[in-house]
């Protein structure tokens, strides 16, 4: 064993720090995040070699164009899930902001940027309502956001009915579909995404606020006593989720040139599936943004590769569902294997595996040992 990274006066056998007791390369490479990244690279390499047209110029362009809403919303959703909460209402906020942009532009005659600002503020307000009920009233987020899922979607559909606003200036609808440069196969939407990704990475992994997010997810009681403002942390994350979802809604509207109440129905489950695939624990306290982004891209790449191979969207759904189940099962399977190998009822690896005994998101597994 290498020398301990932490120098502690009494590092007896009673206390171990599994995360730091292994060499750096193992800590980096043998993680869930890296497994997802490796799988992504493998799929891309395979598809490049074996799927016709996968290396064509349009594949990546449409992949990012289609996955952009999921990529965007996955960022704040990761943070929300790491605190042990969940937000099911994001797709409804997408729909609501889409309708707002359409109505404000068409009926109120506002310009697109002004309408977009109003929509983002409305999205943040939707998130604040979720956050208030979860963080300050103390209600379970699963129940709250199932309610607001229906509520926000209902407002969106109520405002616009079954009509659609399709009258948008071409300047803006083109911008949503524009490429980075003339020849580039990457769309413009990547610019705001990368900006947001950097901001969220700094927030989650390189700030004290971010450490607080992990602490809240691991044990909100302990986080409270160590000085983390638990309620404010959760509240802010829900506000961010609402605002980013609203931005995704504006993009969605301009990309398809149509504002409808039922835009992006069911997107919330896709986002959550991608986040969990990326290695975030539904119990909170574990996860990293690079894994999540790789998870979203993995779904996107699988999607376009299989579509090029002529599979229908149904088969793709089965594959994504199976991947999600396998990825979470593998966690406890690996723990079980390493427990068998070490023969002492739990080796190092199993200590890394989050135990599902805390009551966080509903549906905590029934832990039996």
């Amino acid at each position: 064993m290498s020398a301990p990274v932490l120098s502690r006066p009494e590092k007896g056998a009673a206390r171990t720090y599994p995360a730091y007791s292994r060499p750096l390369w193992r800590r980096v490479l043998l993680t869930r995040e890296f497994a997802v990244i490796a799988l992504l690279v493998a799929v891309v390499l395979y598809a490049n070699g074996n799927v016709e047209n996968f290396d064509g110029p349009l594949t990546m362009y449409y992949l990012f164009l289609d996955m952009a809403p999921i990529l965007l919303i996955a960022l704040p959703m990761t943070l929300v899930i790491i605190t042990g909460e969940i937000d099911l209402s994001v797709a409804s906020v997408v729909g609501l902001s889409s309708v707002l942009v359409g109505l404000l532009h068409q009926d109120a005659g506002m310009s697109i940027p002004a309408a977009a600002v109003v929509a983002i503020i409305a999205g943040a307000a939707c998130g604040a309502f979720n956050g208030f009920l979860v963080a300050y009233v103390g209600l379970p987020s699963l129940a709250v956001t199932i309610g607001t899922l229906a509520l926000y979607r209902g407002i969106a559909v109520g405002l616009l009915g079954t009509k659609a606003v399709t009258d948008f200036p071409e300047k803006w609808t083109d911008l949503a579909k524009e490429r980075l440069t003339e020849e580039s196969s990457y769309p413009m939407i990547l610019v705001p995404f990368i900006l947001l990704a950097v901001v969220f990475t700094l927030l989650l992994h390189f700030s004290s606020f971010g450490r607080g997010i992990f602490e809240v997810g691991l044990n909100s009681e302990a986080a409270h006593f160590s000085g983390v403002n638990v309620a404010r942390t959760k509240f802010l994350l829900f506000v961010l989720a609402g605002a980013v979802s609203a931005f995704a809604g504006i993009y969605y509207t301009l990309r398809f040139g149509s504002a409808r109440g039922d835009n992006a129905t069911g997107l919330e489950l896709q986002v959550i599936a991608a986040v969990l695939l990326g290695g975030v624990s539904i119990f909170g306290g574990r996860g990293a943004l690079h894994g999540v982004i790789a998870g979203v891209l993995l779904i996107g790449v699988l999607n376009s590769a299989m579509r090029l191979e002529g599979y229908t969207v149904n088969v793709i759904n089965i594959v994504i569902g199976a991947l999600l189940v396998l990825s979470v099962i593998s966690t406890s399977f690996l723990a079980w294997v390493s427990a068998l190998v070490s023969g002492r009822g739990g080796g190092r690896l199993s200590q890394l595996v989050p135990r599902g005994r805390r009551r966080t998101a509903a549906g905590s597994s029934t832990e039996e040992r």
Partner: protein, 367 residues
Amino acid sequence: MNAPSESSLRSGSDRDPEKLSDTLLLEPSRISPTRRALSVVLRSREIAVGAVLVAVVVLTTLKSDAFLFSGNGWRDLLLTPSILLLLAVGQTVVIITRNVDLSVGSILGLTAYLTGTLFADNPGIPIIVVFLAGFAFGAVLGLVNGVLVAFGKVPALVITLGTLYIYRGAFLTWADSDRINPSDMPGAFLDLGTKSILSIPVLTIIALVVLAVVGYYLYSNRGGRELYAIGSDPDAAVLYGLPVRRRVLAAFVLCGALAGLAGVLYTARYGTVSSNAGSGMELQAVGAAVIGGVAIFGGSGTVWGAAIGAFLLVTINRALPVVGISDFWQRAVVGGLIIAAIVLDRVLSAREERRLVAARDEMRKQA
């Protein structure tokens, strides 16, 4: 009544002891029967939601007699909620164990399609066989969920989100682009969807019988009580020696089987099965349970409440157009209702807790 949630335990231990009712800490049998009955009625969530339901029906009927008093109105009032009722009952059993099943909508779609195919491929197949097949098929799908959750030790939310995709994908692949039409099915089966006995539709009777059986099992059977114990505290249930794995597995199997039955009912009721059959029903089922007072963290709530919640959800949807609110606003109302229900729960349980803590402190002072 909902059990006070653990997160609120730190609230109020030092609150001012308000006017104290000693009765709070007495065994129920020492309180006079009338007061007991009164407090049960006042605190019953089922009765509160039921009162809202009755109010909705009465108000809508005042607006338009046909909502209740026409033959069709009465039939639809009872018939339309019966499918969601079955889903909500199954969902409640799972939620009570502190799990959740998001795949019920997909299971409903799959079994609805299975029902149509069975009739189309085997003309003359007895109706009861199809019912049993749907029930059994749903149970198998539920078993898959249950095995993954109980033995994989992973949260039900994730597993059933995965199987939601898998089952829906399997349904769509199997159905390809063809849909089930009424002409594929025998008239006797389709008649079931509209037939009534003593002016109560047959499908509603089926749903109510299921409700009664499950409700009785949860209320008075050992297995049912153990489900509550598991949901209240899974760790304690393990330590206490309850067969946690088996019970959770059984809860998922039951939930799947009821969703399968709901799929058969769906086909009988509507006669057509298109590719979006049952999509989004999972959240409605959870919503119905939550409105009916089932705590999302398990351990409390009844199927009666969930059933009334299902009736309320569906009835409000049908009542809105009658009272002149565009039916586009239905979902907003439903969402508001769910939020109101959980906020109300929270307020009530916080108050109850404060009173219990105050009563305990007073007892200690006296001792």
